[in-house]
């Protein structure tokens, strides 16, 4: 059975986004571990996945995986539009998703990097609210991307 190349590309992109998002859970820790040597890359990843589970439970892990998949899908959809068809009016919808990506798995996270430790404590549900919000943003972007009013010219009667 032949697997469409776009499906393979989407899966690989999802994995890459998931790995990147996990590392963004604690940016300074990830930076130091990755800089320490390739032998620490897997250790850091496993530790951060465990941290994600400890901080937000299975929900956190599931939502982060879902976020990674939706991000990959959205990027592929936008790329397809940029690559051949007419101007994508709502391609800018990618930007909020990218901006939110850094916070999608905030434990101490990207928010902590910019705003200091303690800011995450102001968010309820152990940061799961942020993660779910990121997924909602992506779903809206995907829905709008496929909306007929953005892709089809209106015929004036």
């Amino acid at each position: 059975m032949e697997i469409p190349s776009r499906a393979v590309s989407t899966i690989l992109s999802s994995i890459a986004v998931f790995i990147g998002t996990v590392y963004l859970t604690f940016p300074t820790y990830s930076y130091e571990m990755l800089a320490a040597g390739i032998g620490y890359w897997v250790t850091a990843f496993v530790s951060l996945v465990n941290l994600l589970l400890d901080s937000g439970g299975v929900i956190a892990l599931f939502v982060t995986l879902l976020y990674a998949f939706l991000t990959a899908v959205l990027f592929h959809v936008v790329y397809a539009r940029l690559n051949g068809s007419s101007s994508p009016k709502n391609a800018v919808a990618v930007v909020p998703g990218v901006l939110v990506a850094g916070c999608a798995s905030c434990g101490a996270g990207l928010l902590g990097l910019f705003a200091g430790v303690g800011v995450v404590s102001s968010f309820p549900f152990a940061g799961n609210g942020i993660r779910i919000f990121a997924v909602v943003v992506l779903l809206l972007a995907l829905a709008y991307e496929g909306h007929p009013t953005t892709t089809v010219c209106r015929i004036q009667n």
Binding site: P27, M33, Y40, L113, G116, V117, V120, S121
Partner: protein, 244 residues
Amino acid sequence: MPDGEKSSRFSISKRDVITAGTGFFIGSALTGLGYSDKLQRGSNQELDSQNQDDHVRTELTLDDRPAWGPDDSRVTIVYWGDYQCPFCSRFESQTLPVIRDNYISGGDVQFIFKPLAVFGDDSLRAAITAHCIWDQTDDDQSSFWEWHYTFKNEFDSRNSGWASMDNVLRVAGELSQINADDLQTCLSQGGYRHKPSDDNEEGQPLGLNGTPFFVLYNEEAGSHRTLSGAQPYERFQSAIDSLL
């Protein structure tokens, strides 16, 4: 759409998308480089100037903070942590005992704890309690750390009330070295309420943006390192050995 008729819809060209995307990524890269530089200076570079290390040392308030190991140790590890932080718990259960056995017990390292209140009310109460307990036991470090590990075992879920006054006093009452009445007085007075926020503010210029966070320094040699997160023991060993 008929020629000459302007679209009433907001339209974005491919060039607009590319420009916005390029601007975003350049901005991110510059921001990332700025942080990378800060991390590089904070993490792995040795400061040659005694004045710079004095700057690190004088920035830190270490008096009246829970400690482990002798005051005259060559290397000091300052640890910012939270009683409800899972990454901190991992460090304390997996790595700290090895550091204790290999360096603290031998007098090479003094370990100083700065409890923060990152994760809410129970964190704040736990941090204040730690200061009150240390106030009672500073001549007997082992009593503090026995209380510390016993109290941490009470944690079940974040801000569930596990660090309520009743629970705090019950745990203290079970340890012979702790005077529960004195503890209750200390907690009621609220004298240590500001310390977690003071420690938080103190740590941020040094690179504190997540817990656990560590500054390791050798005052005599004029050098220091920082470590973020629950890194493996080998990373601490490498940092400590480079400072000894």
